[in-house]
Every structure is written in C-alpha cells, then in structure tokens.
C-alpha cells in the first residue's frame, strides 16, 4: 500500500502541510495566464457573498484589510460608505497587478497570510476569501488577524473546506486502488466546519458565526475539473502530494467519476463547500453572557404565560 503521509510538526507545534513557495508559484502562474479571468468564477461568487456579509453589518469601516486578496474579488462589491480605505495583501505580485477596480482608495502590500506585517489594533475590518485553506498554521494566522483588528473590529472570512471536491478525491482514490494497489492524497486536507468554531474561539474572537454554503459546478469531465483547478491556482501543493498521475489511473478515474457522480446529460459535478466565518474582537460594548444567579424569571413560569390579548398586539 503506497499510503504516503508526512505531516511535519515544527518546534512550535504548528503543522507544515503545504509548500508555500510552490503555492506562490502556482498562483503567480495562474494570474499571468492570458485568459486567467475565465477561471475566476468561483472567486467572484464567493467574493460577492463575503461582501454581502459586510453589508449586513450596519457600520462604516474607516480602514479594512483583505488577506490573500488575489485579484481582489470582494472590494469591487463594496461601496465607499461601507469601507473608506482598503489594504490588499497577497503572496503573488502578478495577482495584485491585475486587481479589480473598486470605489475606495486601495494600497497593495505583498505579504504572506501567515506573516502579516501590521501593528496590533490597526484595522476596523479584516476580510479574507478563498485563501485560508492553503495556510499551514491556521490557528496562528487567525490569531494574527485578531491582533491586527481594533477592539470591536470584525473579521469576515470565507474558505474552502468540509467535503469540497469529494467527487474528485473519491474517484482518484478508487482508481488508484484498483490500478495501483494503493493511493496517495491528491486533494488537500480541509478544515471541518465543526473545527472552525473552536479555531476562531482559540484565536480570541467572540460572537462567532459560522455557516456553510455549497456551490456545485458542472464540468464536461474530470479532465476539465482538474484543468480549471489549475487555472484557478488551486493545484495541490501539499508536501505529501504525489507528483505523477499515471495515464492509466487518469483514465480509470475519469470512468469512475462519470459512473459514480455523472449527471444525466453527461456532465459531472464538482462540489465546493464554502465555510463562512464572522468573528469579533472583544470590546466592553459587546453583549456578554449574563452572570449566574441574575435571572429574574424562572423557566417553570413559562406554562403560566397566557395567550397575548388583541390589545397587546398593537
């Protein structure tokens, strides 16, 4: 059995799963493609949904930060009334060069999401879309985001997680087992939605909201799925990835994918589970759980509550 797994634990206890240098190269290559915009559909969709969540908060944010912005898919949906100034950071220069235009003034900073070069208590709002799933030390990155936020600042993020691309993962796994007698991981490990709450809490966020959205995209076949992932800059960069995919395995995986997951019209679906998270940096003005023993009514009194009379329903 060729099961290869080599998660390395560095001295600080942080995981080292992804080759960040390779990820930077992949994203740089993807951003400099002639037709790179044709692979932006997923980022555009998720970016607009993150912007929706920013609008849901009835506040104006003087200074905001977009972590791992790519070509900046969130800002184009925001107005100057909501965000007055915006800083964009990404690990690749070519993505920042092609950033989408937006209403508010922006500044670009070339930075790795795991090493934010900002002082504490700087930003009113931090957003992130479709980049956190490649971070090695996610707890550390979330803690840094919490630190650069001002008290009562908010972090709104979206990352790919859960059962994303399970069709691709299973097809490759089954094909490799039948053809080669074992399998190695081709789809990177994802954060489960149940873990996200813990991660945010440990990073020091309060008033957490975590929800999950499923986006299903239909492709002609497995080949187009993998081609589009590459064009998005989402190719696997885990250290334990296998560099080669035998042609026979590829052919077998195409057949399995189509048979197990194919639609009636011959296309195949690929599922993206997007985890949305909102967390606030604590501040005295925020609502806190009431103290023990401060209750003024008892649950036992619930049965004594009478139906509201018409005069009550004014």
């Amino acid at each position: 059995v060729q099961n290869v797994s080599c998660r390395r634990l560095s001295a600080g206890g942080a995981m080292n799963i992804f080759d960040r240098r390779m990820k930077r190269q992949q994203r740089s290559w993807a951003a400099s493609l002639q037709d790179s915009s044709k692979y932006d559909y997923l980022r555009e969709e998720v970016g607009s949904r993150v912007a929706d969540r920013v609008y849901d908060i009835a506040r104006t944010f003087p200074l905001a930060l977009d972590v791992g912005c790519g070509k900046s898919h969130i800002a184009e949906h925001l107005s100057k009334d909501v965000v007055q100034r915006l800083l964009l950071t990404d690990i690749t220069h070519s993505a920042l060069k092609q950033r989408r235009s937006c209403e508010m003034p922006t500044h670009c900073v070339l930075a790795d999401e795991e090493f934010l070069p900002f002082r504490e208590n700087t930003f009113d709002l931090v957003v992130s879309s479709m980049s956190l799933h490649w971070i090695n030390d996610l707890p550390g990155a979330l803690r840094q985001i919490q630190q650069v936020l001002k008290p009562d600042g908010v972090f709104i993020g979206a990352m790919v997680g859960g059962e994303t691309l399970y069709e691709l993962r299973c097809s490759l796994q089954l094909a490799e087992t039948e053809r080669e007698g074992g399998f190695s991981p081709h789809v990177s490990p994802y954060t489960a939605v149940t873990d996200l709450g813990n991660l945010l809490g440990q990073a020091g966020f309060s008033m957490l909201t975590v929800d999950i959205d499923e986006i299903q995209v239909h492709y002609p076949g497995i080949f187009e799925v993998m081609n589009d992932l590459q064009g998005m800059g989402e190719s696997n960069c885990a250290w334990n990835r296998r560099a080669l995919l035998h042609r026979d395995t590829m052919l077998a995986a195409a057949a399995v994918y189509k048979e197990m997951y194919g639609n009636e019209d011959g296309s195949v679906p690929a599922t993206f589970e997007i985890l949305y998270m909102i967390g606030w940096k604590p501040h005295e003005s925020q609502a806190k759980p009431a103290k023990r023993g401060s209750a003024t009514a008892s649950f036992g009194d619930l049965s004594k509550i009478s139906q509201p009379t018409p005069s009550d329903q004014a």
């Binding site: 089954l174 094909a175 087992t177 039948e178 077998a252 057949a255 189509k258 197990m260």
Partner: protein, 85 residues
C-alpha cells in the same frame, strides 16, 4: 505545427484526452460500474479487481487515438497537397 518532440506529443495526447474518452462511453461505464459496486457491496476493492473492464477501456481509448491521429495526418497531407496545386 512545431517540430515533433516528446513534450509537444504528450501535451497533444493530454489535450485530446476528453474527446478520445468520449468515444469509449460504453467501456468507461462498464469499468466504472465494476469499481462503484465495491463501494456498496461487501467486496473490498483490490488491485486489478476490474482489470478485464479496464483493458477493454484502454483498448478502445488507444484505438480512438490512432483513428484520430490518422485523420489528422490525412487532413494535413490534403491541405499541403491543395496548397501546392
């Protein structure tokens, strides 16, 4: 078309993968069903469990490749011939 070399040939093959695969739908479905059956039944998936179905698929795939290659060569020959005349 640039001069033949290993990389351009293999890239060409990879590029044509979807169209060749489309011509072997029956064989692909048979192989896929064989593998998929192990996910529901009690039989575990082991190496070469569906070798027969896979060989049929691979043969079909390779033949489709030869047919397309022949058509491509014939087409380029025809266009060269018409250019010269």
């Amino acid at each position: 078309m640039s001069g033949p070399n290993v990389w351009s040939r293999s890239r060409e093959r990879i590029r044509r993968f979807p169209e060749l695969f489309a011509q072997c739908a029956g064989e692909a479905a048979a192989y896929g069903k064989c593998v998929a059956a192990t996910t529901t039944g009690r039989q575990e998936l082991t190496k070469d469990l569906c070798a027969k179905e896979f060989e049929a698929l691979k043969t079909c795939f390779t033949n489709a490749g030869h047919k397309l290659h022949f058509l491509f060569v014939k087409h380029s020959f025809c266009s060269i011939w018409t250019e010269r005349h």
